[in-house]
């Protein structure tokens, strides 16, 4: 029988993989992939809580997951547009070289 703990462990592992990917990449699109993995793990936890935790409105977790998916789509569109336009200006999307605002 699958319990809440199984979902939480999978979500935590997925979150740490996403965190590692997002922080360690030098390529901006790679960073974005890490963020998407992290959002996925959060959604997985929300669905797990919606399925297994006592609540007066059990569907709320799934509604929240739908909103997270919506925001992720908007975020991906803007971030990839930024990556393309940064590439056009600087001929690189290496996040370590984009240090114009660094003091």
């Amino acid at each position: 029988m699958i319990g809440l703990e199984h979902v939480l462990v999978v979500g935590a592992l997925l979150f740490s993989i996403g965190l590692y990917t997002a922080l360690s990449r030098k390529n901006a699109v790679g960073v974005l992939m890490g963020i998407e993995i992290m959002l996925n793990s959060v959604n997985l936890n929300l669905i797990g809580f919606s399925r297994f935790v006592e609540s007066p409105n059990p569907i709320d977790g799934q509604v929240f997951a739908v909103f997270v998916i919506t925001i992720a789509a908007a975020e991906a569109a803007v971030a990839l547009a930024l990556a393309v336009s940064v590439y056009r200006l600087r001929q690189t999307i290496d996040v370590d070289k984009l240090n114009l605002l660094k003091w």
Binding site: M1, I2, E5, H6, V7, L8, V9, V10, G11, A12, L13, L14, F15, S16, I17, G18, L19, Y20, T21, L23, S24, K26, N27, V29, G30, L32, G34, E36, I37, N40, N43, L44, I47, S50, R51, F52, V53, P58, I59, Q62, V63, A65, V66, I69, T70, I71, A72, A73, A74, A76, A77, V78, L80, A81, A83, V84, S85, Y87, R88, D96
Partner: protein
């Protein structure tokens, strides 16, 4: 649903999801990384189905595996071959230590908290309940989300517009 089948499906899907998410950070070519990312998204959608969240699983396949991955492929293909290297990382050792520690803490907290657990058998589709929730208690966030999507779309179009067309909009 048959209990044992659900358990086996959960473990297989969790394995596929975690392995392909790991491969995203291992493979050297960014295009391969996106393909593994799609596999990971589909694995997560399968996990949603084992948790009886059919509508969210369909939305996941449509939006993540369909739209966002294609968007990423477009962004990679619009930048030349030299920018497709996924292998360069910075501070790999300390970051993996931090990520592993954070994951361990989350697992520890998750396993040691007394959740008010019930096993809720959801029968039938959740689409009707989600639709009712979106249009009754959550109608304001729903409308704000649609406005936000429109803003993001217009912003993305303006960001990638070529510079020489700036005057004649």
């Amino acid at each position: 649903m048959d209990d044992l089948a659900v358990v086996i499906a959960f473990y297989v899907l969790a394995g596929i999801t975690l392995l392909s998410a790991l491969m995203v950070s291992i493979v050297r070519d960014l295009i391969h990384a996106v393909l593994f990312l799609i596999l990971s998204f589909i694995g997560v959608a399968g996990l949603y189905i084992t948790l009886s969240a059919d509508f969210v699983a369909v939305a996941q396949v449509l939006i993540y595996a369909g739209a966002i991955s294609v968007l990423m492929l477009f962004a990679i293909l619009l930048t030349p071959r030299s920018a497709r290297d996924n292998s360069r990382v910075s501070y790999a050792a300390p970051i993996s230590a931090i990520a592993g520690l954070l994951g361990a803490v989350i697992i520890f907290v998750g396993l040691n908290t007394e959740w008010a657990e019930v096993d809720r058998e959801i029968d039938g589709s959740t689409a009707r309940a989600i639709g009712n929730a979106l249009l009754d208690p959550y109608v304001l966030p729903f409308e704000i989300a649609s406005v936000l999507l429109a803003i993001a779309m217009i912003g993305a179009i303006i960001l990638v517009r070529p510079n020489d067309e700036e005057g004649d909009l």
